[in-house]
């Protein structure tokens, strides 16, 4: 975006990511007023595909993997995909780089997690 060298950009990204991780670890989303609410949810009452991701990250940093799934089912797969991208391993990236599937999954998640069906309640971000 800005005209800085790639090395500097990467270091900045790492610093920012570390800072964010520290904040997420220390303060609990949903309890602490530090975190802004989801605008989509406030306006429509429905969960957006990202709802629960902050609470999920907090749970992940504290090692509670089961809770991660409960807050946002797509968070773990998304994190795996992002990790593969930044790892630079092009073979694995070739495997997961399927934009159409991602689009389908995001849209399906958006719909399914808002249906008031008992079998799908685990997809809602607050249950």
């Amino acid at each position: 975006m800005v005209a800085v060298s790639t090395g500097l950009r990467k270091s900045l990204l790492c610093v920012v990511a570390a800072g964010v991780a520290w904040v997420l670890y220390t303060w609990q989303p949903g309890v602490s007023i530090l975190y802004p609410p989801c605008v989509f949810k406030k306006l429509t009452g429905f969960d957006c595909p990202g709802c629960g991701s902050l609470r999920g990250l907090h749970a992940l940093l504290h090692g509670r993997l089961y809770d991660v799934l409960q807050y946002n089912a797509m968070l773990l797969p998304a994190l795996v995909m992002i990790a593969i991208y930044f790892s630079g391993n092009s073979r694995w990236w070739q495997l997961v780089n399927k934009p159409k599937w991602v689009l389908a999954a995001v849209l399906a998640f958006l719909v399914l997690r808002n249906l008031p069906l008992p079998g799908l309640m685990w997809l809602h971000s607050d249950h």
Partner: protein
């Protein structure tokens, strides 16, 4: 448009490497626009002068690929004579004309075909021996074709040809002292809005590789920032691969750009909301402190 871009002519013998030449053509479309590729370019009508017709066809040729399978060298006609020994054989005439006019020629050997020895070739084809050849194995077709595409791009660069329409002045700068693209004036519609982005994209186009579809940024934008804008970003990311494989390289680059832009807008919206929220909380905090007295 094809005058500005490099052109690639595929020479092959139907009885020898028909399938491979066809497959090569479709693989090359991943790296080059279909207007740059010419297979079966020679439709010689009865009664026409062969040499003149071939000469005219090759006028636009920047690189000639000579496809050789196992039966290329000793293919025979109905009378049992070797086709290469017939001075009117089209395949021979095309190659000979290209060699004569110093058109870069790349022999492409399929599946363990060995390059013929000089004495096995007719005199006007012996120049082929001095050319660097590329081998393509069937079970490594894609990787080997990529090497061929790189070789072709190197030839283009040496000739001062760029594989894409120049999008802005950067192309001329990158070319350095070499001549810029041939043909009429450059189009001045910039694809990328800023220098670094343009350089990244030109880098990937000049290398003939597919641009990154920016999918990861689209996902992050959707999940962390602004849902609707994030989804728009993902949709653009979806289009990049399809467009590129279809040979629509310019459109693919634009789609990759759009995906990135929408991800950035989404992040901007997210940041603005966070700031507004922060201000709100600060004000609330103030009120709470004031009202407790």
């Amino acid at each position: 448009m094809s005058q500005d871009l490099g052109t690639i002519f595929i020479n092959y013998r139907k009885s020898d490497a028909n399938l491979q030449a066809g497959y090569l053509y479709s693989e090359l479309k991943k790296y080059f626009h279909k207007d740059q590729l010419f297979k079966d370019f020679n439709t010689i009508l009865p009664g026409t002068d062969f040499e003149k017709s071939i000469n005219e066809a090759l006028m636009k040729c920047d690189v000639l690929l000579v496809c050789m399978g196992k039966s290329w060298l000793n293919a025979t006609n109905e009378k049992g004579e070797r086709r290469l020994d017939d001075p009117n054989d089209f395949v021979r005439l095309e190659i000979a004309t290209a060699l004569q006019r110093d058109i870069p020629t790349v022999p492409v050997l399929f599946d363990d075909t060995s390059f013929p020895a000089p004495h096995e070739l007719p005199v006007d084809l012996r120049g082929l021996n001095r050319r660097q050849y590329v081998e393509i194995e069937t079970n490594r077709f894609e990787e080997d074709t990529k090497k061929l595409a790189d070789a072709i791009l190197t030839i283009f660069r040496q000739k001062g040809i760029h594989t894409a329409q120049p999008h802005d002045v950067l192309t001329a700068q990158q070319a350095g002292g070499q001549a810029g693209t041939r043909g009429p004036q450059q189009r001045s519609t910039p694809v990328a809005g800023n220098t670094q982005q343009a350089r990244d994209l030109l880098g990937s186009v000049a290398a003939g590789t597919k641009p990154a579809n920016n999918l990861v940024w689209a996902i992050l934008a959707t999940v962390l920032c602004c849902l609707p804008m994030g989804i728009v970003s993902i949709i653009y990311a979806t289009k990049v691969d399809t467009l590129w494989n279809n040979g629509q390289h310019d459109e693919a680059i634009q789609a990759a750009n759009k995906a990135k832009q929408w991800a950035i807008y989404s992040a901007a919206v997210g940041i603005i909301i966070a700031i507004i929220y922060g201000v709100y909380i600060a004000m609330m905090g103030n009120e709470l402190m004031n009202s407790s007295y």
